[in-house]
Point group: C2
Chain length 225, copies 2
DNA sequence: TGATGTGAAGCGGTTCACAGCC
DNA sequence: GGCTGTGAACCGCTTCACATCA
């Protein structure tokens, strides 16, 4: 156990490990070794051990990890044992799709409000959640204890949305607009840039298909996509 | 100009560069230096030069890059000058939101069909696009020249969907289901795992807030999120 | 002079390999 | 014997720094 800085790559993997453990738990196993986990889910066992060791000595030599105990540890480490209240900015297709995305609930994220500038949208309900006027953002954030903002507006409005978010004191932001946003210090921004992902796929398709299945190195592909 | 293997990190950045150049072009500049680009969009100038140099000597010493010419090069390199036909598997919230996502058009991706197994959804139209029976996937792929599949089904069905996709001969797949999928060789899989991103944000929120704005290193944050 | 293209250094993350413990 | 935890080796990407050229 060290108290170094934890990389985001590690926290992403912790999330994956938890998911894997859930599957293992359903299957009924009480313990699991890093090797078994790695083999089953195409991970690297040393990396699993190293990632976990940042947070404590959860394993038992000669045995492996106790599935239930490790699940609890990871849940706590990832903060999934406490509710995170979310405000989604942009009540368009994406924003509304996100508003009842099941994954939010699973991660203990509650969508407290949607925001938009369009008077035609304000006041409407999306599932349980009401669309509020973006003008009242800061007030609603305060009143509803919102700690996470999701930016789901067109690219040209995203920076302004981010600044509003920061002014309201929010420290964690997930951005879906295809722009590079500039954050203030202390604010955590995660961007999911679908455009870039698509264009990168497009690059792949544009390459001469260099006949797969020949000259393939037999090594297992361990890297996450 | 080398002909090494191009990393995905590089292709992702090419997409970003193109986006930046579009902005520059709108502003009317004819040339731009790597330094100017870097300063404006918080990138690293050496990295821009290196990324571009993989594909040719596009720059002019003492001058920089010709904006229009470079845009054309990048468009071609990324394969954005040819149409990519897409099939979306899963006509739920996410699938339908994606079906008329503007970013697809911008990357020259055309959503040719949506697929679902639910008889209630089959035959319905989402915008211009019809929802087809997943059973006919391979046939529709052939008929409509679909080359890209988007997996937008619940996690438990994603691996089966991927296998169907591969059997139909598709080589480029974008996956939104929160599972690690196993691909055959020669198939390019890009996964966008919202659950993992959320849980990683949750981790950040769960950390003791170590008083921001103090001890911050003044260095510019160059890394993309 | 001013900016590119690039070898070399630097850095962070991954994998190896093994000592240590159950 | 089996498996963890971890220093060391390794690897790939980023950044520096400069020779090169318009």
């Amino acid at each position: 156990m060290k108290s170094e800085k934890i990389s985001e790559l590690t926290t992403n993997r912790l999330s994956v490990y938890l998911r894997c453990l859930n599957e293992i738990a359903v299957a009924g196993a009480k313990t699991v070794s890093s090797k078994a986990l790695a083999d089953r889910f195409h991970l690297n066992s040393a990396q699993i051990r190293k990632d976990l060791a940042y947070f404590g000595e959860f394993g038992v030599r000669g045995v492996g990890y106790y599935v239930e105990a490790l699940r609890n540890h990871l849940t706590k480490i990832l903060g999934l044992d406490r509710e995170n209240r979310v405000g989604i900015i942009g009540a368009g297709r994406l924003g509304t799709a996100l508003a009842d995305y099941y994954g939010f609930r699973k991660a203990n994220f509650t969508v407290a409000a949607l925001f938009d500038a369009d008077p035609k949208k304000i006041g409407k309900k999306v599932g349980e959640t009401e669309v509020k006027d973006i003008k009242n953002f800061a007030a609603v954030v305060k009143q509803d204890n919102i700690e996470v903002a999701v930016i789901a507006v067109p690219a040209e409005f995203a920076q302004a949305a981010l600044e509003r978010v920061e002014k309201a004191g929010i420290k964690a932001v997930m951005n879906f607009a295809p722009v590079a946003l500039k954050t203030s210090n202390g604010v955590k921004l995660k961007s999911i840039d679908l455009t870039t992902s698509l264009e990168s796929l497009s690059y792949f398709l544009a390459q001469p298909p260099k006949q797969s299945s020949r000259n393939v190195k037999p090594k297992v592909k361990d890297r996450r996509e």
